[in-house]
């Protein structure tokens, strides 16, 4: 459902959120190393997130990527919309060009329920929620 880059994006934003308290900015290399992802993929993806105002960046020395309190409070669907596009949760489970009740595929009714449940999850989970579980040692970003 989500691209690899999108999953990486969610982990990167959680990492940035964990640096919010201290106010530290983080460089591409640091982020990529921590979440165990390709530096280049991370760099490009972070730019996308900056454009979508999901995170912020500053150039030059002492620069880097960072997140604001408001952004930390955003649901992770914002990250998904920015990286994979707004269409993720509207796609047909059997690959029809358009998911619709009036011209539905054979699994539409049941698939829609699952897909909507996933969408709701992404709408409800805030970056800060996920960050907390990591900070508390209840969840991990690598492994």
């Amino acid at each position: 459902m989500l691209s690899l880059t999108c999953k990486t994006a969610i982990k990167a934003v959680i990492y940035l959120a964990s640096k919010f308290e201290s106010g530290e900015k983080s460089g591409i290399k640091e982020i990529a190393e921590f979440i165990d992802a390709s530096e280049h993929t991370v760099g490009k993806m972070l730019q996308t997130l900056v454009k979508a105002e999901v995170i912020n960046s500053a150039k030059g020395p002492t620069g880097g990527f960072f997140i604001t309190g408001k952004q930390k409070n955003q649901a992770i669907i914002k990250i998904i919309d920015a990286v994979d596009g707004k269409n993720v949760f509207e796609e047909c489970g059997l690959g029809l060009s358009k998911c619709s009740a009036t011209h539905q595929c054979p699994i539409h009714n049941d698939y829609k329920v699952v897909r909507d449940k996933f969408k709701t999850l992404c709408q409800q989970k805030k970056v800060s929620d996920l960050c907390d579980t990591v900070n508390d040692g209840l969840a991990y970003l690598v492994g």
Copy 2:
């Protein structure tokens, strides 16, 4: 979650199921045309399904692909297992190498629910169920 080829496979098997009553066998070309997919992808994928005994084939004139009553009664997860592998429903939602409760990612608890729901759907829906909705004009394989 499912590959494009896997979605194509489900549609192809539903098509074969619709030919069960008449006993007709279907050729690659005919199937590909009906479900609006690449002939070559369909050919290769059908071979995989034959090997996995999800469908059957016969060479030579009057040959083609067909399905037995028993196979028509199978759940679509058999198709998924054959084409995309048995691991589809065990994958971590954030891309960790292994999904496990003891070393979980930040969305594990909620994601697992959704993923399991989708798995249950694939275990419960039989080829014949989906075939019926198409035959009754309630659902479509293309469009």
